[in-house]
């Protein structure tokens, strides 16, 4: 099943006029946010976006904008408190690791 987080909060933006229809954003998105319609990419499940940044990073013509970040409360909290380097692989279970990425 596919989870969706809060409604209408993500920073994802697609400028279709720059899209060349290569489809790489569909390929890299772990949340199936995009669909190709009439040769161009379009955002069809915006609330599923987790702001990982993969689509924007891999879009050669630069048609996608997203502010990438880790949706981890612990990391946000440590950041607010000014404590650095305490995240990922240390105290938190860190996203997806258990789903056997490689």
């Amino acid at each position: 099943m596919k989870y969706r987080y809060l409604k209408d909060v993500v920073t994802l933006n697609l400028d279709q006029s720059k899209c060349n229809g290569c489809g790489l954003c569909l390929e890299v998105c772990p949340q199936q946010v995009f669909t190709i319609k009439e040769g161009l990419s379009s955002i069809t499940d915006r609330d599923a976006c987790m702001e990982c940044g993969a689509c924007a990073r891999n879009c050669a013509p630069g048609a996608i904008y997203v502010r990438p970040g880790v949706g981890c409360a612990y990391a946000v909290l440590m950041d607010k408190l000014g404590i650095k380097g305490k995240c990922c692989g240390d105290t938190c279970g860190c996203t997806l690791e258990g789903t056997s990425d490689y």
Binding site: M1, K2, Y3, R4, Y5, L6, K7, V9, V10, T11, L24, E27, V28, C29, P30, Q31, Q32, A48, C49, M50, E51, C52, G53, A54, R57, N58, A60, R67, P68, G69, V70, G71, C72, A73, Y74, A75, V76, L77, K84, G85, C87, C88, G89, D90, T91, C92, G93, C94, T95, L96, E97, G98, T99, S100, D101, Y102
Partner: protein
């Protein structure tokens, strides 16, 4: 997080059998590789170490320790090129992180295949987290391709990357600067053999992250370990309060009575912690609402109400209010923390929900603490 100082302890000193970049090796040393290597193979450019495509007992013990947070940061493999089976210049090249668990989950799926693994230096962090930080990234891939003389070793110009590495890698830049075309492989290592057989085409379900009941539970040991300290602190605080109350009241000090009272008061807090850290993640899709803090709060409230009409129905009204205020706050905080282990929460969402939830939690928990303290003396 971008130098070796953040990685203080490694299981063993750098060992010569795993080749790596010399400038990195002064600061970082790696897991002893003898356990997972099976000799070397001769190639056009150099000898390449061959890895076993199955896990041994020491791999499994290491994984278990890493899951429970024992020496977790020290679980790195030396970057470099490795062989699986008997690869030729035509064999595919897989790129992986040098976190031992990532490396293990990759190689254990590769039995019977002949290919190359290019392990890049992600400072011992898994693919997904490293991609987010950019250490699993374009620059590091380009550096390792050059360093291992990959262009001279293989006849094709293709790199297969884990899809979850994509946030850190610009495929078009790798292509432009090295000539290698990046192909994003499936999310799970287990789908790799099928992906390779299928001419490097991923079925739609190979591209999806799954987040099953088991995944949600597997991620909790580290959180449980993280809970022990605050719970120990709370136990001590309740114990001291109980003792003080007894002495102030002029009664004779009876240790057993104090321990019994401490335990009785403590149990709901432990249940609340488990509710937030284990139950809320496990029941995630079935709790109404989208915000994780809310889901935890709902379960915490249900727990508090059950306790207050049940086993704790004849406690003082002050203790009851302490539970009503504190238990949902605790469960809420811990399930908010679970955002770090989910596969779908966004930074914008977390920031938004924290803005609302944190002040509520802090106020509610503080009032609960006051009520708890007062309840000892009235």
């Amino acid at each position: 997080m971008n130098d070796g100082r953040d990685l203080p302890m490694y299981e063993s000193k750098a060992v010569s059998c795993c080749s790596s970049s010399p400038e990195q090796e002064e600061e970082i040393s790696y897991v002893n590789c003898e356990g997972f290597l099976a000799g070397t193979i001769e190639t056009a450019i150099d000898q390449v170490a061959r890895v076993k495509a199955e896990l041994t007992a020491s791999d499994k013990i290491g994984s278990f320790k890493a899951r429970w947070g024992v020496g977790r940061m020290s679980y790195a493999v030396a970057p470099g090129l490795y062989a699986v089976g008997n690869p030729t210049p035509e064999s595919p090249v897989l790129v992986s992180a040098n976190y031992k668990l990532s490396f293990d989950s990759l190689r254990k799926e590769l039995g019977g295949l002949d290919l190359w693994i290019l392990v890049i230096n992600t400072k011992g962090i898994n693919v997904w987290c490293a991609a987010g930080k950019g250490t699993f990234g374009t620059a590091e891939i380009l550096r390792m391709v050059a360093e291992t003389k990959l262009p001279a070793l293989v006849s094709h110009r293709k790199l297969i990357l884990p899809q979850l590495g994509a946030p850190g890698v610009a495929a078009h830049r790798v292509k432009a600067e090295s000539g290698f075309r990046v192909i994003y492989g499936p999310v799970r290592a287990g789908d790799l053999p099928a992906f390779l057989k299928n001419d490097c085409k991923a079925e739609p379900e190979m591209r999806r992250t799954t987040f099953t009941f088991l995944n949600r539970l597997v991620l909790t040991p580290v959180e449980i370990v993280g809970l022990l300290k605050p719970l120990a602190g709370l136990t001590l605080a309740i114990f001291l309060l109980s003792s003080t109350a007894l002495l102030v009241g002029g009664d004779q000090y009876r240790l057993l009575a104090v321990i019994a009272q401490t335990a009785q008061i403590l149990v709901p807090f432990i249940l609340a912690a488990l509710t937030g850290a284990v139950l809320a993640p496990a029941l995630l899709p079935y709790i109404p609402g989208r915000a994780l803090a809310w889901k935890g709060w709902v379960l915490g409230m249900v727990l508090a109400v059950i306790l207050l009409v049940g086993a704790y129905s004849n406690t003082s009204w002050l203790l009851k209010s302490a539970y009503l205020l504190a238990l949902p706050a605790i469960a809420s905080f811990l399930s908010l923390n679970f955002t770090g282990s989910t596969t779908y929460t966004s930074l914008s969402g977390v920031v938004k929900e924290m803005g609302v939830a944190l002040p509520v939690m802090i106020i509610s928990a503080s009032l609960g603490a006051v009520a708890l303290i007062v309840s000892f003396f009235i």
